[in-house]
């Protein structure tokens, strides 16, 4: 029997698992996909918001500001890339100016430090690539960028290093109240637990309903993005937002922690929770919006486009509450959910403590996790030491991102272990560069098959029926 079952291995489930793994608790994270970080966590703006957007007094505002303050040290402990690059909300006309002043005042009330209104001269000195029709901006020096899936992988990995379990491909189908807590079932496997924390993202309303609480709903809101070549990564240094609307913070232009340039997201309410298709309309609207912000937009430098779904809750605020003893919903975690995630985790830890569960701190808690980028970030001498200890670090597999076989093997062997191509991509960046896996995919398929003792045809892109290879050729001697 587990003390705590966490449903959903996104950044929220992961950060909560990590926070709880400090204590002597038997923890299990259930994930319906083949890997962690497969929902909203893997496709979002990757921004740590300063905290001026959310309404004063909301849970969003409080946890955003707290989370944003905690994020840098959390990322340091977990070896995750974090850059405090500062953000700018740029304005073009008088209406925008009013919006920006509102944001400034709201930010002050929310407790955001260092906010400043910039005039045209200050703005263009800070960001020379911006369109000359941008006349002023709200500058938030505490705005930052992070690798969101890297954070989720690291948080869950760290929780696992501290004894938490992870079950992937576990789709929760029923939750039954028992004398001691709950029985959770996927129809093929049952687990018993004293406490459940529902971090099921887009599906949090459905999981909550399984436990007889239908007090809220989650609607998907589509956000499409375009990612540009690293050549364009220095187009801007800050995260550039347009003035916000009721549908969110508008399209942004931002460098990523890995040095690419990110454009997006669109914002379209939608009914299908599993439709992550990009659209022609969406992609071209991003391009044209970027043209409004930037004096010159790099052309022909797109390397990929993708779509994420925000989990928009029906209450307008984060839904973090306990509808019944032992069951906690952590739902409606749309933006600024990533920014708030470390604070959400502590908030949930406190809720659990208040609910009467006995929580003793572990004697041997490991607070840090080796960085997935430790080879890349090492000095020349350290790299050569690593290569002589393990020659696989000397072999480049992904040419574009210069990722070595050693790093890919690490991803296949380190908690939470990658088992598919996209899992390797999120953990190492192999296949994520300008050729998008054109050169390295065949070799990575071999590494996955070899490492896991499976056939090439069993290697998938992201689990289930996403096998990459459909069979062998006629002449293949292993037919």
């Amino acid at each position: 029997m587990y003390d705590v079952v966490i449903i959903g291995a996104g950044v929220i489930g992961g950060m909560i698992a990590r926070a709880l793994s400090r204590y002597d608790l038997k923890i299990c994270v259930l994930e319906k996909e083949n890997d962690v970080a497969m929902g909203s966590t893997k496709a979002n703006s990757a921004i740590i918001h300063a905290g001026f957007d959310a309404p004063v007094g909301s849970l969003k505002a409080k946890l955003n500001v707290q989370g944003s303050q905690m994020m840098e040290s959390v990322c340091k402990e977990l070896g995750v890339k974090y850059i405090r690059n500062g953000s700018l909300v740029v304005g073009f006309n008088d209406t925008d100016l009013k919006t920006i002043l509102d944001l400034y005042n709201r930010g002050k009330k929310n407790g955001v430090n260092g906010l400043k209104i910039l005039n045209s001269e200050e703005l263009h000195e800070l960001e020379p690539a911006l369109s000359r029709s941008a006349h002023f901006a709200l500058y938030a020096p505490t705005g930052a960028i992070v690798c969101p899936y890297g954070l989720a992988v690291a948080a869950i990995g760290n929780a696992m290093d501290n004894g938490a379990e992870l079950k992937c491909n576990y789709n929760v189908k029923s939750i039954t109240k028992t004398d001691l807590g709950f029985e959770v079932s996927s129809y093929t496997e049952k687990v018993s637990t004293k406490y459940i924390i529902n971090c099921a993202g887009l599906f949090a309303d459905e999981v909550s309903a399984l436990a007889n609480d239908s007090s809220f709903t989650i609607r998907p809101r589509k956000g499409e993005y375009i990612l540009l070549d690293k050549e364009c990564g220095k187009t801007v240094t800050h995260t550039i937002f347009g003035p916000p609307s009721s549908m969110g913070k508008g399209i942004l232009v931002s460098p990523t922690v890995d040095g690419n340039l990110l454009l997006g997201p669109t914002s379209v309410d939608f009914n299908e929770k599993d439709n992550k298709d990009t659209t022609q309309v969406g992609l071209s609207s991003i391009q044209s919006k970027a043209c409004e912000y930037l004096a010159t937009v790099p052309t022909g430098k797109n390397i990929t486009s993708f779509c994420g779904l925000r989990a928009v809750g029906s209450t307008g605020d984060f839904i973090i509450e306990s509808p019944q003893k032992g069951f906690i919903n952590v739902a409606g975690i749309e933006s600024p959910g990533l920014s708030a995630s470390p604070a959400i985790a502590e908030y949930v830890v406190d809720m659990l403590k208040d609910s009467g569960i006995v929580m003793h701190k572990k004697k041997k808690y490991i607070s840090t996790r080796p960085s997935a980028t430790r080879f890349r970030d090492a000095s020349l001498e350290e790299k050569n030491k690593m290569i002589s200890d393990n020659p696989a670090y000397g072999k480049i597999v992904c040419r574009c991102e210069k990722i070595t076989e050693g790093e890919i093997l690490d991803a296949l062997r380190t908690n939470p272990k990658a088992t598919d191509l996209d899992g390797i991509k999120r953990r190492t960046r192999a296949q994520m560069g300008r050729c998008q896996g054109g050169f390295c995919t065949p070799y990575i398929i071999e590494l996955i098959a070899r490492e896991n003792g499976i056939s090439f045809e069993s290697v998938t892109k992201f689990g289930a029926n996403s096998a990459v290879i459909t069979g062998k050729t006629k002449g293949n001697p292993n037919l």
Partner: protein
Amino acid sequence: MKDLVIIGGGPAGMSAALSAFDCGIKDILILERDSHLGGVLQQCIHNGFGLQKFGEELTGPEYAFRYEEKIIKSGIEVKLNTMVLDITEDKTVTATNPHDGIFQIKAKAVILAMGCRERPRGALNIAGSRPAGIFTAGTAQKLVNTKGLLPGKSVVILGSGDIGLIMAKRLTLEGAKVKGVFELMPYSGGLARNIQQCLNDFNIPLRLSHTVVEVHGKERVEGITVAEVDEKRVPIESTKEFIPCDTLLLSVGLIPENELSKSANVKISPVTNGALVDQNRQTSVSGIFACGNVLHVHDLVDFVSDEAEIAGKSAAKYINNDLSDSTEINIFTDGKIRYTVPQRITDLTDVKVYFRVNNIYKNVNIKVTDGINTLLTKKRPKVSPGEMESVTLKNDHLKNVKELHFSLEVV
């Protein structure tokens, strides 16, 4: 310190090495990222290579082996599994491999022969889902020809570049159903012989002025939507058509891989995406040369070998302080001719200038002037973007010339 470091052991790198070797340079090092020499030829098991160079039809591996044998015989040093991480303007090369770790070599001359990469889906902004089953044609070729693995059973190919055409035939021979090749342009970018031998002979339809507008399928590709495009290459809504398939292959263009060249401050042409070079294939950085698909994308490997020989010879001369620059002639093109290689001439010598056109034209005069006087004309019954053309300028043509203008007149 090495006399000559060659980045890449494909057809260009091997040919350049051998020609430098024949010119007396013995202190040569080839750095190759793969575990074998030969580059992309290793996976090109179809024939048709070597017609120009050897007067016979070879497969890619056979063609490569002719050079590899000579490399082995010559004793030219080769480091395999070696990835170059950086090249500086002063020709210091940083590389890594499992055996040596990360190491630096200073070279008197460097030849860039890194080849090219394929344009991925993201570059085209194709909308829809992102399931398994989308490959560039070259990745599919590698899986089929070197790993014995099939990427799919029911295939649509976007782009009629040569690799796409060759894979249409290859997958058909392996039992897959190739439902069609769709080409955005009103003409194919591939060689005429490939259209005949790879599509027509197998009844595979080629639909020009068409593109893929959407990918369907959550886990594996389940189909694609294609549409005809108008003259501005914008998809026409009313022509949208769903085609069920489990695989989409992309053959939508090759991009010379010049990230290392850029780190060495080599000036890149926005048209070819390769270095700007003179007739010696010397780049804007003294002592750094470029050849093969890293310089501009070729249709035939035979031309790559020729070009690499020039680069090898020139590098040898450079190392021996024997490279003369007696003049400075820049070459301009009229747009119908998209680009020339070389883009400038620095010595009064016979120069073969290669060029590519931007569209299909019939009955044309290729005209070379010095801005005022016509120096040379050449009649061609047909020119097309898929087939590289050339003219040879004689030493005499270049005397007292400050610039050259290449233009195309449709008769």
